[in-house]
Symmetry: C2
DNA sequence: CTTACATATAAATATTATTTTATATTAAAC
DNA sequence: GTTTAATATAAAATAATATTTATATGTAAG
C-alpha cells in the first residue's frame, strides 16, 4: 500500500504538479525549474526528490547539472501522469512557462547551442 | 487545479484507501466502517467527508443511518478508483474485512433481513 | 416528550509535510 | 589548488492534516 500512497502523496501538492506540467515538454535542470517557478532552489530540490521517490520522474546527471524528466516507468504511473497532465491546462501554469521561456532564451544567448524542442541546452560542453 | 489536488489528497491517506477498498463491495454505513477499521467514529466521519468532498464517494441518508458508497461520477474518477482498488490486494485489508464480516453477522442476527451481496441491511425498518 | 442511538461538528492536541535558512558536496573554471 | 556555480542535505521554523475528546444534531423508539 505504501507505494501507491507515495504516488498519490507526490501528486497531491500544487508545486509538484506545476513541476510535472513543466516537464511535459522535455527535461529541465533544477535551475530551469527554479527560474520557472520563481522560487528558491532547496524548495525545488525537495519536491523533485519527492517526485523521484514516487517513481514519477527520473534524473540524469551531467557535470554540475542534474536534469529531470518524466519517468514513464510502469503502465499505472504512465497512465496517471498522462491523465493528470491532460487535466492541467496550459493557462494554469502560464506564468511558469513564460518565466521559463525568458530564462532559457537568456541562457541560450550566453551559450547558443540549441537542442530539440526549441529549448536551450542547459549547460555548455 | 484545486479539484485535481483534492482528488489526490483524498487518495493519499491510508485510512481513506482502506475505506474505499471496503466500499468496493457495496455501500456501508458509518458504524460498519467504524467496526471494520476498529477505530473511533469521529475519525471515520472526518475521512468520509474528505472522500465525499473529493467526489469519490456519495452518501445516502436513511433514518438515523448514513450509507456511503463509491461515487463513479466522471470518467477520470471512475478510472482512478478502478485502478486504485485493483492495486490494493484483499490481503492488505484482510483484518478490516474480517472485522466487518463479524460485525455484519451479529447485526444480521439482531435484525435478520439479508440484502444483496450477503450483507446485512444496516438498519431495521 | 424523554431517552437512546447514529452521525456530524467543534475545539484542543498531536503528527506530518513544507518552507526557510544555513551549510555541505561535487564538478568545472580559473 | 582556489574559486565559483549547481545541486543536495540538515536543522529550524512554519503550516497543513489528522486524531482525540467533548458536544451537538437529528431521528426513531419507548
Amino acid at each position: 500500500m505504501q507505494e501507491i500512497l507515495n504516488i498519490f502523496k507526490a501528486l497531491s501538492e500544487e508545486t509538484r504538479l506545476r513541476i510535472l506540467k513543466l516537464l511535459e515538454n522535455g527535461e529541465l535542470c533544477v535551475c530551469d525549474i527554479v527560474a520557472a517557478l520563481d522560487t528558491i532552489q532547496p524548495k525545488v530540490s525537495f519536491h523533485l526528490s519527492t517526485l523521484k521517490e514516487a517513481g514519477l520522474i527520473k534524473d540524469r546527471k551531467q557535470g554540475k547539472w542534474v536534469h529531470y524528466s518524466i519517468h514513464d516507468s510502469d503502465i499505472f504511473r504512465r497512465f496517471l501522469l498522462l491523465s493528470v497532465l491532460e487535466r492541467i491546462s496550459p493557462e494554469t501554469i502560464l506564468e511558469d512557462s513564460n518565466r521559463l521561456r525568458v530564462f532559457l532564451k537568456e541562457k541560450n544567448q550566453k551559450s547558443p547551442i540549441v537542442a530539440i524542442d526549441n529549448r536551450a541546452v542547459c549547460c555548455p560542453r
